[in-house]
């Protein structure tokens, strides 16, 4: 269908856009207000996570038993936990591990998943069947149960949790990659490279996967909220980050005991932080994946 266009139809002139710095000549696209708010919030969170040691008013593990379970006031903007640790400082310090761990595990999951998915789609036959059966077995474990199995064997801790979650999410990535790689592989340009004598690995690594990149990135951005929730849930269960970390899921777990004493802040401050970041990421993710054209499975 892509005939050389000898006589291109006249394109209506694009109205001049002053703020366009991009080299593409596409019309300017405005981002809706909720997207801007969410993106701004995420940028702010990321900045605060990096600057936490500078901006946090207290040390995250500074214990002050005189100020145990203090309500928000001038000294402690978001109150304190049972040990009198400043919740604002803990949430700020916890932003780093809470965001970096999901990012790392998603990166690991996508490396494994994209490699397996591409391999299955490219090779077909028994390789495809094998990869599909393995992913099927992993899909037989609902929710976080596969992760829990790995944690039960290898012990808890942030590193184990990250690897376990990466293994659990990689079949999801593999399945999606396989489905879009199958369609891409059938396109004529792939045959053209083959005819030129390019090897299968080179075609996959240098042509096919880069061409899938927009869809894959859009899909992974959409997954991030899910992955962040998974990581926080694992820490909440006590299998992820360990004390004295102030990872948010772990903070919720530690704050839970204060809840029945009527102190709501220690559990709800980190809980709200998780919820806000996930919501913001979903708002941003849906829009970005729309623009990148994530294909339906």
């Amino acid at each position: 269908m892509t005939l050389p266009q000898t006589a291109a139809p006249p394109v209506p002139p694009v109205p001049p856009v002053p703020m366009m710095s991009s080299k593409s000549a596409k019309p300017a696209r405005t981002w809706p207000i909720p997207f801007r708010i969410a993106a701004g919030f995420l940028l702010l969170t990321a900045t605060l996570a990096i600057l936490a040691p500078l901006v946090a008013p207290y040390e995250p593990d500074a214990i002050d038993l005189n100020a145990s379970l203090a309500l928000p006031d001038g000294a402690h903007v978001l109150g304190t936990d049972q040990s009198g640790r400043d919740l604002l400082s803990r949430v700020l310090h916890g932003a780093g591990p809470s965001l970096v761990a999901p990012l790392a595990l998603l990166a690991l999951a996508s490396v494994i998943g994209i490699a397996l998915g591409t391999l299955a789609a490219w090779h077909g036959g028994w390789v495809d069947a094998l990869v599909s059966r393995v992913t099927d077995v992993m899909f037989a474990f609902p929710g976080l149960l596969f992760v829990i199995l790995i944690v039960s064997v290898f012990g808890d801790g942030l590193t184990t949790a990250v690897i376990a979650l990466a293994l659990a999410y990689s079949p999801v990535v593999a399945k999606y990659t396989r489905s879009i790689a199958l369609a891409e592989r059938a396109k004529p340009y792939i045959d053209a490279y083959r005819v030129q004598g390019m090897g299968g690995f080179a075609i996959c690594a240098r042509r096919l996967v880069p061409n899938l990149a927009p869809s894959l990135i859009g899909y992974l951005v959409l997954m991030f909220g899910q992955v962040l929730m998974g990581m926080a849930t694992l820490s909440y269960l006590g299998f992820g980050a360990q004390p004295p970390s102030s990872e948010w899921g772990l903070m919720v777990k530690e704050g839970q005991a204060a809840l029945v004493q009527g102190a709501l802040w220690p559990a709800l401050v980190p809980g709200t932080a998780i919820a806000l970041v996930v919501v913001a990421f979903n708002v941003v993710g849906v829009r970005i994946s729309d623009r990148l054209g994530v294909r339906e499975r």
Partner: protein, 316 residues
């Protein structure tokens, strides 16, 4: 039809066998001696104790023989002996299954009723109502279950005192009261998908000729919606609800921990914390079994709800 049912059932069996092998074989992936792992890394693990464990688990047999023994025991209802409680795992588990089933069932009723109602509302009213339903349900789906659980405890439990915040209660009424908040925290996140699927499926029906005919025949709008639109739109909704119910079993791990309910989910967490591997294996196996059984059941009954699927099935 029988061919399809047979194929699905065989697929279920193969997947279950593979999953059970993964669950059983996991101890061999653990670093070090499986016997040391099974006694829970206790420092007082004397050679006698290790030898006892090795004998009890036939650890000197080949892996396939051990797996065969274990799965044979499971099929006879013998799940082994708990390391922590020294009870039969089967007794431990069976005392906790009713609570978890009650929780899952209660939660299923909540999300099915509320989700379908919201979906119908979205489809019938559209416009602003639809946007609000989407926004609220999406927001609820973006909050992790344990955060929802604790928020419910904080506001409806501690602040207002309407519901108890821990335990599962005795007797039906008391149990319903105790498990309302846990069931809500399981159900709220699923409203988004159910309401979306209901709305989408109903909108597809609206465009069909039989709806126009029903209207032309003078049926009231309520009857048109209930008998013609909703009735025909149900098949995808039922399928989706079935799949969600299957996944609720895994969700009980978090919710039971948050509310201190002694069900299967909290048993799993305790078993891992106390390195009680036989219990861990048993609970994981039962949860995978429940999940696979429900999803397969949904697969099997799908053609019965929606006869149109039968045609596609016979062609394949």
């Amino acid at each position: 039809m029988p061919a399809r049912a047979l194929r699905i059932t065989l697929g279920l069996l193969v997947t279950l066998l593979a999953a059970s092998f993964v669950i059983f074989g996991a101890i061999y992936a653990a670093p070090g001696d499986p016997a040391a792992f099974l006694v829970g890394g206790q420092e007082d693990a004397t050679p006698e104790k290790l030898a006892a464990v090795r004998a009890a688990y036939h650890l000197d047999d080949p892996l396939w023989v051990q797996y065969g023994d274990w799965i044979g025991g499971v099929l006879r209802g013998d799940l082994g002996r708990s390391m922590q409680y020294h009870d039969q795992v089967a007794d431990l588990v069976s005392s906790r299954v009713p609570t978890t089933l009650f929780l899952v069932g209660y939660s299923a009723v909540l999300f099915v009723v509320a989700g379908v109602a919201l979906g119908v509302l979205s489809a019938v009213r559209g416009g602003r109502v639809d946007s609000i339903v989407v926004a609220v349900t999406t927001l609820l789906a973006s909050i992790p279950k344990f955060v929802k659980a604790l928020a419910l405890v904080a506001f409806l439990g501690v602040q207002l005192g309407w519901f108890p915040v821990t335990g599962a209660g005795e007797g039906f009424g008391d149990r319903l009261h105790h498990l309302t908040l846990p069931a809500l925290s399981l159900a709220l996140g699923e409203l988004a998908v159910v309401s979306r699927v209901t709305r989408q499926s109903m909108l597809e029906q609206y465009a069909q000729d039989h709806v126009t005919v029903a209207r032309a025949a003078g049926l009231s709008e309520f009857k048109v919606i209930r008998r013609h639109v909703l009735r025909n739109a149900l098949a995808p909704v039922v399928t989706m609800c079935g799949l969600i119910i299957a996944s609720l079993f895994a969700g009980t791990v978090v919710v039971e921990t948050a509310f201190g309910i002694s069900g299967m989910g909290s048993l799993l967490v305790q078993a891992i914390n106390t390195h009680d591997f036989p219990v861990t294996q048993a609970v994981l196996l039962l949860m995978v079994l429940a999940y696979m059984l429900v999803t397969t059941f949904v697969d099997l009954v799908h053609p019965l709800i929606d006869p149109r699927v039968r045609l596609e099935g016979s062609a394949a």
